[in-house]
């Protein structure tokens, strides 16, 4: 254990996406000692992922520059898996384990895609929409590939535009939301633009230009993916009619869910799947703040402003933080519109067939889950959610399909190596000696 490697931080930020970077910058610019920890090889999160091709947006480069100038300690390729004491987090690196000590914590753990099971969704080359985009940014060649993009949320358009830029052909984008909802969404964006210089509208227009000629269908969703060893085609329900499309990849995600495992472990109050915060982004746990997607899915602008408020508040600059409340209020309006527009339609609960696997780690089919009445009972009897992803994929799916509530965690919140778990076994909290985990 590298106990002496890291200093004690005044503010430690968990998560290196837009919210975390903004929090770290604003806190460090106040002159306090700040660290930022992320499990990826570099900062930026999913939306500002650089990968093999470089080319981050100007805004990301700006925040990264300020981060360096302000002297923030960046700890990449490190994943938090436990909190043995209130001011200590344990992080596993590629080959080592670190004890990170801090006075104040800002949780900016981001979001992940929501996946819904349908026949064939476990075939190789069926990926998340953001998942495929991440793979492409990390070098996956798309030239000449046919990719069906499906699911829901504004991410679908961004992904389709990115794939096209990389040479993919998009035979169809399937959006489950209705045209009515989408029309109201567009009108709301116009309304937002009158309130101030709002990036979303411009972003939307640019996307439309880049997507010119790509077929887009609302009221549409995937019914089944087909193929022997890998994906060959997908059948979709397109405005009530089914249609089978040959493709190399299916990029499929049903909007986002907040990553609340670490906030839960720390004892933060959660409501409707989101971390509860006050006006200064403080959670219900003293000295633990939260910013960005874990407080509710709201997009990059909201994440940045929440991150700034949290960073300033964590550094003791509440007065400065308050100056950003107006900006946050405007960004929150967009978040509430997102939520209304891309709410999942009830028809999607009938997507899985009885034999469709829901828990991909333990290969538990839908028919076995339906015999149970709760997440806990299903875990005990079927091993659903007991694999290495710890229910991060099947949890949100069963929440939608079966109305279960999988919101409970215990350490380690990510599978950790036995050495990592043992490294703190001589520590002060005896229950941590009993922790089991690993793959």
């Amino acid at each position: 254990m590298n106990k002496d490697l890291q200093p004690r931080f005044d503010v430690l930020v968990v998560g290196g996406g837009p919210a975390g970077m903004a929090a770290a910058v604003r806190a460090a610019e106040c002159g306090v000692r700040v660290g930022i920890v992320d499990d990826n090889a570099s900062l930026g999160g999913q939306i500002w992922r650089s990968g093999s091709e470089g080319g981050q947006p100007k805004e990301a480069v700006g925040w990264a520059e300020r981060l360096r100038t302000a002297g923030v300690t960046a700890l990449c390729s490190m994943r938090i898996f436990d909190q043995p004491e209130a001011t200590v987090l344990l992080a596993e690196g590629t080959d080592d384990v670190h004890e990170l000590r801090c006075e104040n914590l800002v949780l900016a753990t981001g979001a992940r895609e929501r996946f819904l099971p349908f026949p064939g969704w476990t075939l190789p080359n069926v990926m998340g929409a953001g998942g495929l985009q991440a793979m492409v940014k990390c070098g996956l060649p798309m030239r000449g590939k046919r990719v069906v993009v499906a699911g829901t949320g504004p991410l679908l358009l961004a992904v389709a535009a990115c794939l096209r830029q990389h040479g993919a052909e998009i035979p169809l984008i399937c959006e489950q939301a209705s045209w009515g909802n989408l029309a109201r969404f567009s009108l709301s964006l116009l309304g937002q633009s009158l309130l101030g210089p709002y990036g979303k509208l411009i972003q939307g227009l640019r996307l439309t230009a880049e997507l010119g000629g790509t077929p887009f269908a609302a009221n549409s969703w995937p019914l089944a993916a087909h193929g022997r060893q890998t994906l060959e085609s997908v059948t979709v329900s397109r405005g009530g009619k089914s249609e089978t499309i040959r493709c190399d990849y299916l990029a499929c995600g049903f909007h986002l869910v907040s990553n609340i495992e670490l906030p839960l472990l720390l004892g933060c109050q959660i409501q409707n799947g989101c971390v509860q915060v006050d006006d200064l982004q403080r959670t219900t746990v003293p000295k633990v703040l939260c910013a960005g997607e874990p407080t509710g899915i709201g997009g990059v602008e909201l994440s940045i402003v929440e991150g700034q408020i949290a960073g300033l508040a964590a550094a003791g600059r509440a007065t400065e933080a308050r100056k950003l409340f107006g900006e946050r209020e405007r960004a929150r309006r967009f978040a509430s519109i997102l939520d209304r527009t891309f709410r999942l339609r009830p028809e999607l609960t009938s997507l899985p067939a009885p034999e469709t696997i829901v828990c991909r780690c333990e290969d538990v089919p839908y028919s076995r889950l339906r015999q149970h009445t709760s997440w806990r009972a299903a875990k005990l009897h079927t091993r659903c959610g007991m694999g290495p992803c710890q229910g991060r994929v099947c949890g949100p799916a069963t929440q939608f399909l079966l109305k279960w509530n999988p919101a409970s965690v215990r350490p380690p919140i990510f599978p950790a190596r036995v050495e990592s778990l043992a490294a703190f076994a001589d520590g002060p909290a005896p229950e941590h000696n009993q922790v089991t985990g690993g793959i």
């Binding site: 499990d39 990826n40 090889a41 999913q46 990968g51 093999s52 091709e53 470089g54 390729s77 994943r79 590629t94 992940r112 895609e113 996946f115 476990t122 075939l123 190789p124 080359n125 069926v126 990926m127 998340g128 953001g130 998942g131 495929l132 985009q133 991440a134 793979m135 990390c138 070098g139 996956l140 060649p141 060893q229 890998t230 990553n259 696997i357 991909r360 780690c361 333990e362 290969d363 694999g387 290495p388 992803c389 991060r392 994929v393 599978p415 793959i439």
Partner: protein
């Protein structure tokens, strides 16, 4: 473009641009990453380290999340 990196996927050489993740190298080579508990081939799903579907063995170390790890010259990747 930086010079390409050559690694071994199941004993065959695969050349990828520097900065490519192991998951991408495996998918680009047309391979599945792992076999599920009931014997299905599986590839990456989330691309961001949460789903664990992209687990492979790298240089003999099992259960590496290949979407979080960059390719290095001479790396030995096994998907079985």
């Amino acid at each position: 473009m930086l010079s390409p990196v050559t690694l071994m996927v199941n004993g065959s050489p695969v050349a990828v641009p520097a900065g490519t993740t192991v998951a991408v190298a495996v998918v680009a080579a047309g391979q599945a990453c792992r076999t599920s508990v009931s014997g299905e081939p599986r590839g990456p799903l989330c691309g961001m380290g949460t789903c664990f579907e992209c687990r492979v063995a790298i240089n003999g170390k099992p259960h590496c999340r290949s979407c979080q790890i960059l390719c290095e010259p001479g790396m030995e990747v096994r998907t079985d």
